[in-house]
Every structure is written in C-alpha cells, then in structure tokens.
C-alpha cells in the first residue's frame, strides 16, 4: 500500500493560562488512497485537533502531515472539511453555497457552464436537487449537512475530512445520512477521515477505526481493521457476529481500557450518544 496521507509524529501543545497543555503526543497514522478512516475517542481527547492539523487549520507543534509527499502547511480545497454544524453561509441559497466553492476551486479549469453542471451534479449526489433555491434556514438539519457534504465533494478533494458530520442530527436522520454517505463512497471511492462518537457509525462506515486514548497527551491507542464486505447493509449486519465482534472491540476499548476517569465504568456504557465535546480546544 502506498502512503497517500502520512500523519507523522504529530505533537500539539497549546499555551494556556496554567502553562502549556500537551493535547496530542506523537500521533502516527498512514492512510492509503480510497480508505475510510474513523477517529473515535472520548470527548476532549484531541480528535478535532488531529483533523484540524490535517486540514491545515492548525499547525502541529512538532511533526507534520504529508499528502502525496507534500507537506501540509495551510488549509486548502484539496483537504475539504465537512464541519459538524454544517457551516453553510446562511445568506446564500443551497446552490450558491456549493457554487461558491466550485467557482473558487475551478475558476480557471472549468467554464461557467461546466461549473454550473458540476454544482448541480454534486447536489444530485446528496439528493438535494429539489431545494437548490432554498436558504439554509429553510431546510432541515439533515438537509443542511447534505449540502455541507456536497460542498466538500464539489471541491474534488484528495482527502475528505469530516468532523462529527452527523453528531448534531437525530438518530433517524443520522442513519439516513450514513446510508447516503456509504452510497457516495461506493461511487466516488474518496479518501475519508471522519471523527465520530458513535460506535455503530464507526464500524458500519470504516475500513479502519483509530481509537484514541484519553487526553491530555492523547495518542493512537489501538487500530481496528474492519474487514466487512461492501456494500454493507445495516439490517443484515445487526445480527452478524463479525460486526458485533468489531463493535464489542471498540466498546471495550472506550469503556474498559480508556474509560473517562471521572465516569464509573458501569454507567459509561450508556455513553455512546454523541454529544458536542465539552472541551473543544481546536474550534
């Protein structure tokens, strides 16, 4: 396997009022092209920080990120980000939100007509063609996140970075979105790094699950290869023993070996529910 994306010995230290706080300690991760990676860990363990470093929104204190052997130093559309709260511009329509990205990325390489078609094509991919002229305030949370994904896909990124993309959605909408994402992934075969709190989501979507230890000084705890055939079907997998084994592995890691110190083990089992991290250093 070639090294498409290489996160190499990344350390991150934030200055705080009580002295420097080491958030990440030597994160190493190699991602191949077309791979779907999930980062899972307790709130505040620095998952978002890793993602922001890959995006270039933050610069690592030590170490660095190489994408196709080029060092990442600043944000760019080749590492498109899907933000947790969608981050659409509320004054632009659905179409214009995606078009803004398309115009910016392809202003030289595509004609106006091609850019229009590309914008519509990407909105078609996420099944949002019916709401091109609506404003973000006029569509539901799930639809907003679909547009957010369309915007990221429209940048034709080398790596798609998703920061808890479905964390703010209700569980029914979330399952819909996961199915859509799998569908898109099957079609485009993007390289994806996704942050999640949801064990089922991680096992269902990923090729590999990166489990992070608790912060501060968080690092990669374990890596789980999810060897389930695609396309994956959530109903079929619910009874599948391999699937449940993977699921149990992740739950064991999160709640036995790296339970949050202030939460009793028995209680923390109910803690799958994604919640906005309380300590969000990165954003």
């Amino acid at each position: 396997m070639s090294e498409y994306l290489n996160i190499d010995h990344v350390h991150m230290t934030f200055p705080t009022d009580n002295g420097p706080l080491e958030v990440l300690n030597s994160i190493n991760l190699k991602v191949s092209k077309g791979e779907f990676i999930s980062l899972i860990g307790h709130s505040g363990c620095g998952k978002s920080t890793v993602l922001n470093i890959v995006a270039g929104l933050l610069n690592a204190t030590q170490g660095g990120v190489l994408l196709e052997d080029k060092e990442v130093t600043e944000p760019g559309p080749d590492r498109a980000v899907v933000f947790q709260n969608h981050s659409l511009l509320p004054w632009l329509t659905v179409y214009d939100n995606v078009r803004l990205a398309v115009d910016q990325v392809f202003k030289k390489s595509k004609s106006a007509q091609e850019r229009d078609e590309w914008t519509r094509h990407n909105l078609e991919l996420v099944h949002m063609s019916h709401a091109l002229d609506r404003k973000p305030d006029e569509i539901s949370g799930g639809m907003k996140q679909r547009v957010g994904i369309a915007r990221a896909l429209a940048m034709d990124p080398k790596v798609l970075l998703m920061d808890e993309p479905f964390g703010a959605l209700d569980s029914l909408t979330r399952t819909h979105m996961q199915d859509s994402l799998m569908e898109i992934q099957a079609e485009l075969n993007n390289t994806v790094i996704m942050i999640t709190h949801d064990v089922d989501e991680a096992v269902l979507l990923s090729d590999r699950i990166i489990m992070m230890t608790n912060g501060p000084s968080a690092t990669v705890g374990e890596i789980l290869d999810v060897d389930l055939p695609r396309p994956r079907d959530r109903l079929g997998l619910a009874e599948d023993s391999t699937y449940n084994h993977y699921r149990a592995e992740v739950v064991k890691f999160l709640h036995e070996r790296h339970a949050q110190p202030d939460v009793p083990v028995s209680k923390s089992k109910e803690e799958d529910k994604p919640e906005k991290p309380k300590l969000k250093v990165a954003s």
């Binding site: 944000p75 760019g76 559309p77 981050s87 990205a101």
Partner: protein, 343 residues
Amino acid sequence: MSTTKTGNRAFNLPILDKWMAAMSGDVTNKKLKCVVMDALVPMAAILVFLMLWSAGAKQVTTSLGVLPGPSQVFSQALNLIDEHKAEREKEAAFYERIQKRVDKAIADGKPQEKIDKLKSRKYTGKETFIDQIFTSLLTVMAGFVLASLIAIPLGIMIGMSNTLYKAFNPIIQLFKPVSPLAWLPLVTMVVSAMYITDDPMFSKSFLNSALTVTLCCLWPTIINTAVGVSGVSKDLINVSRVLRLGWFTKTVKIILPSSIPMMFTGLRLSLGIGWMVLIAAEMLAQNPGLGKFVWDEFQNGSSNSLSRIMVAVLVIGFVGYLLDRGMLMLQRRVSWDKNAVLR
C-alpha cells in the same frame, strides 16, 4: 366620556383589556383583540397624554403667556401650513410678474442682456416651516451619508485586524462622548478657513451643521461595524480558509453579510444621534432648518411662539421616528435573515 373615569387607571392593562373587550362586545374574537391591542390601546394612551398635557399646561404661566395646550398647538400647526401655502402663492405670483415683464421686454425689442438680467431674478421670500423641515432633512442626510462612507470601511478594517482595533480604540473612546456643541466652534473655524470659493456649492452654515452631524455620527457606526465584523463565526472563517477565498471575496461573501445586523444597529444609532445633534447645531450655526426655526421663535417672543415651538418639537420627534423606520425598512431589505425580529 368614560375615558375620564378610567384615565387614572389606564396603565393597568388587564383592566383596560377587560374594558376594551366589554366595549367591543366580543371577548373571544382574536382578530378583534389584535385590533384592540394594536390600535385602541395606543390611541387611548395618546388621549390620556393629551389630557394630561392640556390640564398641566394651564398651570404654567410664562412671560409669553400660559403654556399652550394641544388645541392651540394644533391651530398653530394649521397656521404654519397656511403660511407655507401663502408663501408659495407669493412666489408663483412673483415669477408670473417677471415672466410678464420678460414678455413685454421681448415685445419691445429690448437688448438680450436686459432680458437675461430680468430672467435671472430669484424670489427671496423667507423660508417657511415646511421648507425648513426639508432643509434639516437634507443637512442630516448629508452629514449621515458622509459619516457612513467613512465609518463603515473603517469599522470593517478595525474589526478585521486586532492591531488596528488596539490602535483606534482609545481614539474612538475619547471622541465618542464629545458633545456636538463642543465640535461646532471648531468646525465653524475650520470651514471658514478652508472653504474659500467664489461660487460656493454649499453655504457655510450648511457645511458647519452637516460636518458636526458627521463628527457625531461616526462613532456608533464604527464601533458596531467593528464588533459585527470581529464576531463573524469562526466556522465561516474556516470555510473561507479551506476554500482559500481571496481578501475581496471573503469580505463580500462572508464578512459583510454576517456583520450587516450589527452594522445597521450602528447606523440607526448614528442617524438618531445625528438628528438630535442637527437641531442643536442649527440653533447655533444659524443654518436654515428646524433648529433655527425654534431659536428664531424663541427670540421672537410673540404670543404664538410657544405654540409654534411645540409644533416644531412634535415635528422633530415625528421626523426622527420616520428616519428610524426608514432605516429599519432598509435593513429588512438588505438583511439576509428575513425571520429576524427587528424593532
């Protein structure tokens, strides 16, 4: 009328509601209730106010006679409108006379210079109250537009750069509380020193008042625009970083739209301040306008003066209200968030 009975209890709303509902004869009708709340309640309040005014004014005797009540003020208002009409008729009659003389001169074969001289004669009657309202509006708009043209770009720059904010903040904080009356002498001196032309486009008194308005209008717009710009959501800034938007696109597509609500808060505050400042400036600068009207009436000291000043006070208040509503309508037009409740 029953109003006199409930007058002293008019601010106790539940009782007023009941009374209104009983009067309209239908308690359950929601639409009617809306009409009662939106129209009748304010009207009742105004009625009470007029009565209090009428009763209170009679108690005050000034050197110019008893303080006028609503009815005297109303008749003076009509009077001012009549004066305006009379003045317009006089003006029309003047131009008619001139035209006749021009026609006659042409018929008599007088030289062209003489005809031109006749034609160039301007009517020089005094400005009526209504003319002065428009002069005041023109002056305040001139000062306000000039201030906004300076303050919005400056506010955007200050909001985008922490360094600029640190640099400008003390200056803004220092000048913000300065009274317009303190600026006016300085402005007057500077204008008389700098504005020297043979063919002035604006009169000096107009410039004095307008510039004083500008100096007082700047600060709220600068501060609020800067706060709006610096408060742009970090996520949206991240979007622009990921897209590598250029400085211009970022400003136009992200920063301006998201700071528009705060910007308009500043603009509305500025215009309100500007209108108040203008009246004071006009009094002192002797710029034709509502302020000068009030001052002239005060100096005039006739038995009607107090009523006429009160008409001016009410008109000043009403125009100020209309200006604010105008800004609100403009804000609704340009704001992207059509659901926002704007008051």
